[in-house]
Symmetry: D2
Subunit: 105 residues, 4 copies
């Protein structure tokens, strides 16, 4: 699993116990699920805007925001990045169209 | 960097040369940027819906979709997951609120 | 209230009784809330993409999709466009910044 | 066309000439397209969250925000709500599935 994600998750776990006023992440946990989900929607839109602007540096910046808030959601739900990476591994080796066709949704 | 992401990126690079009809990823590249960005928006919304439904398995599933299409966007833009992970590393150790306050936007 | 919205709402109400296979709207009701919400997220993203492409005709097209699925959501929730227009009326005459400052969120 | 939309559009046109510090809408115009589009993405996500929370009052509130920022986008693009309503009228009477099938995208 990604060392970066692992290190970030340790920070995110640690901040669960902290005072909401002490850090941005602690304040996100305190505000709760809806606030975290709004950030996911917001950062996804900002990634789209950056890509349409053709600004590669901004794409990286917004995608870092998107992945960061993804990790916050996972931590808030007592899930881990590893759960998501394992799901990606599971799909691995399948041709994309086969995989798409196999989806239950 | 994440082994999973590294392996996935190799697959994604490989599929850039493939016929659009041969795989879901090759068809995404062929349809171009707007189609990839629609998927980012779509999977972000589906992640929000899964989280509000309280369905942890579905959160993992939709986030896998979101990260997967993130990697497709990066590959299409000749960027890599490592660029995003390095940006996250760069921010690392900063308290979230400091980091937030330092943003230019 | 908008004549267009009023006429559309009559159609949408009518299709609530129809067989899911008979129309796109009837199939949306049948698939349920999550499917309708996915469309809201999807059409919002497509509106963003159209605007960033500088394609005015496409902006109109995607915003029609967005408003249409908004009306479907309202109908599915037994709400009406008039409820939303009245909320907009209520805010009317307020300076935007005052209105923004008064929000509880 | 909707009286509410017509009245709102007059306000929005008027605020185009105003000082960015004088109102929320004038500040949106001044910040430009990307800021307006971020609001569209944000309010769409908040509508989804409100609907999943089963909070009808909040659905009305967030949809008012979504439609309001839709009108701001139209005004910024020198388009009008009437363009969107006419597009909806044009599609009118078509069965949804026919309409869907006829789409070029």
């Amino acid at each position: 699993m990604s060392d970066t994600f692992k290190k970030l998750e340790q920070v995110l776990q640690h901040r669960k116990q902290e005072d909401p006023s002490s850090s941005y992440v602690a304040s996100l946990y305190n505000k709760g699920l809806d606030t975290i989900l709004k950030k996911i929607g917001e950062e996804a839109t900002e990634t789209v805007i950056a890509a349409k602007s053709g600004d590669k540096k901004q794409i990286i910046y917004e995608m870092a925001d998107l992945w960061f808030h993804s990790l916050v959601l996972l931590a808030q739900q007592d899930l881990s990045a590893d759960d998501v990476l394992k799901e990606l591994e599971r799909r691995f080796g399948l041709s994309g169209l086969d995989e798409k066709a196999n989806r239950t949704k």
